[in-house]
């Protein structure tokens, strides 16, 4: 048991490092059906398939696939009624919130992993780490460093608000049936990217859970990029902003003049 835990710990540090030695140590290898998702003018969401193989998998092991999108800082404000009007107030800044976050697993998460393991790895919507550094400080309680929020109960409401907002656009998702085990330790998972998928670098982590703890994991990278005309226009707007502005005005004038010309001829 102790040896197994030690191996698991080694595994976690080494991220399925092949030089860990132990013959029966489980390993996860994963790949994506496409490593780059291109956003073109007709982009209305995409579904990509993550597949792979697990070696040394045992009967009751579970797989969890976590896909994280590029992280951004957010400001969450609570609306309060002032003179009858709802006004955004009390901003709380959150750092490095993933713009996309989805979890798929072979079984419901609470059956797959222990609370502490899920929390440590940030697996699951309720365990996703949402850090608001301005309202928190760390202190040592009973010899353990813990994060204490200065806004108490409200912090949870702010975090829920982020999750709720993202779930509405299907940017945050958690499914209990997303990962399918096939024969011979092969698996596949569907990753749904909604129309609002932001561009950037994504990572997909595959965790092998045994007795509530992750014993192996593998990572694949996924890029979401603007492509074709969309990419050209976006780059144009940012790299040659003044020229872009002039072109926008010129096109508008052309259409306006064209309409006037057609109109006056009739």
């Amino acid at each position: 048991m102790i040896a197994e835990l030690a191996a698991a710990a080694l595994m976690l540090q080494g991220q399925a490092d092949p030089v860990t030695g132990a013959d029966n140590a489980p390993r996860v290898v994963a790949a994506l059906s496409q490593e780059v998702v291109e956003i073109r003018s007709d982009f209305a969401g995409a579904e990509i398939i993550l597949f792979g193989a697990v070696t040394g998998m045992e009967e009751d092991d579970d797989l969890v696939v976590v896909v994280r999108g590029p992280a951004h800082d957010l400001r969450v404000m609570r609306k309060e009624r002032t003179f009858g009007i709802w006004i955004n107030r009390a901003p709380v800044r959150f750092e490095n919130v993933p713009s996309y976050y989805s979890v798929a697993s072979t079984r419901p998460l609470q059956e797959v992993g222990a609370f502490s393991a899920l929390r440590r790895e940030g697996i699951g919507l309720q365990h996703l780490r949402l850090v608001a550094p301005d309202t928190e400080h760390t202190e040592v309680r009973l010899g353990v460093e813990v994060t204490v929020s200065e806004i108490g109960e409200e912090a949870a409401e702010y975090r829920d608000a982020i999750s709720r907002d993202r779930r509405r656009d299907r940017l945050f998702a958690e499914t209990t049936s997303g990962v399918t085990m096939l024969e011979g330790g092969l698996f596949r998972a569907n990753v749904a990217l909604p129309p609002a998928t932001p561009v950037g670098d994504y990572t997909a982590d595959v965790y092998l859970f045994r007795d509530g703890r992750p014993v192996a994991s593998g990572t694949v990278e996924l890029g979401v990029r603007k492509a074709g005309l969309e990419r050209i226009i976006y780059n144009f707007a940012h790299d040659y902003a003044w020229l872009y502005g002039l072109v926008a005005i010129a096109l508008a004038l052309l259409f306006g003049w064209g309409a006037a010309a057609i109109f006056s001829r009739r």
Partner: protein
């Protein structure tokens, strides 16, 4: 059919955008208004970020005001001198408005200010228009009885005491340059914040404050709007990168078609009834935006991007 907007970064049904453009174009052709005050809230409603909606709408108004301005230029029904003064004020106002917009956005209050501006101005303009058109219809129905004697003598007002007076031959006015510049500035600021041309404020101001003859009012207003919205488009594009050219083109194409149909339909409707219909439309938009301000929102939290440092 979905189309991905490269700057707004959302996927929208292309027919919704063309339909919006045509519908608003129809109304603007029929009523002779720009339509920005309807389009911007609708764009925000379908999920376009407010910053992109306001900037892109400025770009669309360049197109819709250009065709009108060209027509008035041909007929010489515009006061260039007055237009240039309005434009000087408007340019300064546009620059100020774009800065103010960026500042309010950093505070997380831009949506609120946009809504408040809309409710305030639409309420006032719609209310005044409704009262006036109802009055005009009542007057028309009993015009035989009461023909009010209109006093020809102009009262000397505050505005006539201002310095830097100059002649405006096209309008037949002798007036200080200060009021047009101030009005232009005010409208330019609002145009940048609200994503409108500002004609619905400028036209009444020209008639009631500057007392310009009505035949040159619309042309001069379009002349000023054309240049101010072009400047706003340029500033938003260079400073905030919020002009979505794909969105603008779709709205322009729809708008051009809609405006022509609207103008034709408008010719068969009586002016007062048309004005009442427009007033009601303005009031409906106003009421909807006002209701959204006071009604309990479905989600009490707003998720905004963190303040970008530097700007």
């Amino acid at each position: 059919m979905q189309i991905y907007l490269p700057i707004a970064e959302i996927s929208v049904n292309i027919f919704i955008l063309l339909g919006l453009g045509t519908g608003i174009g129809f109304l603007s052709g029929m009523f002779g208004v720009g339509g920005g005050f309807l389009m911007t809230p609708l764009l925000i409603f379908i999920g376009v970020p407010p910053a992109v909606a306001v900037s892109t709408e400025a770009n669309q108004i360049v197109a819709s005001s250009a065709s009108g301005a060209i027509a008035h230029w041909r007929r010489r029904t515009l006061d260039i001198k007055m237009g240039v003064l309005l434009l000087i004020g408007g340019s300064a106002g546009s620059i100020a408005g774009v800065q103010l917009f960026a500042f309010l956005r950093s505070l997380g209050q831009i949506d609120l200010i946009i809504s408040l501006c809309y409710v305030g101005f639409l309420g006032i303009i719609g209310g005044l228009m409704a009262i006036e058109s109802v009055g005009a219809i009542i007057k028309r129905n009993r015009s035989a009885h009461s023909a009010q004697p209109v006093s020809k003598r102009r009262k000397r007002r505050m505005i006539d005491r201002l310095p830097f007076k100059t002649r405006f031959p096209a309008s037949g006015l002798y007036l200080s340059v200060i009021p047009p510049v101030v009005i232009g500035f005010f409208v330019g600021t609002l145009a940048a914040i609200m994503g409108v041309g500002g004609g619905f404020i400028m036209v009444p101001a020209m008639i009631y404050v500057l007392r310009m003859p009505t035949n040159v009012v619309v042309g001069t207003s379009l002349f000023q709007i054309l240049f101010v919205t072009a400047l706003t488009t340029f500033l938003q594009a260079t400073q905030n990168q919020t002009v979505d050219i794909v969105l603008a083109l779709l709205l322009i194409v729809g708008g051009v078609v809609g405006a022509q149909i609207g103008a034709r339909v408008g010719r068969h409707v009586k002016a007062e009834e048309l004005r009442i219909a427009l007033a009601l439309m303005v009031l409906v938009v106003c009421a909807k935006l006002g209701w959204d301000l006071v009604a309990t929102p479905s989600d009490l939290f707003a998720i905004l991007p963190a303040r970008e440092g530097g700007h």
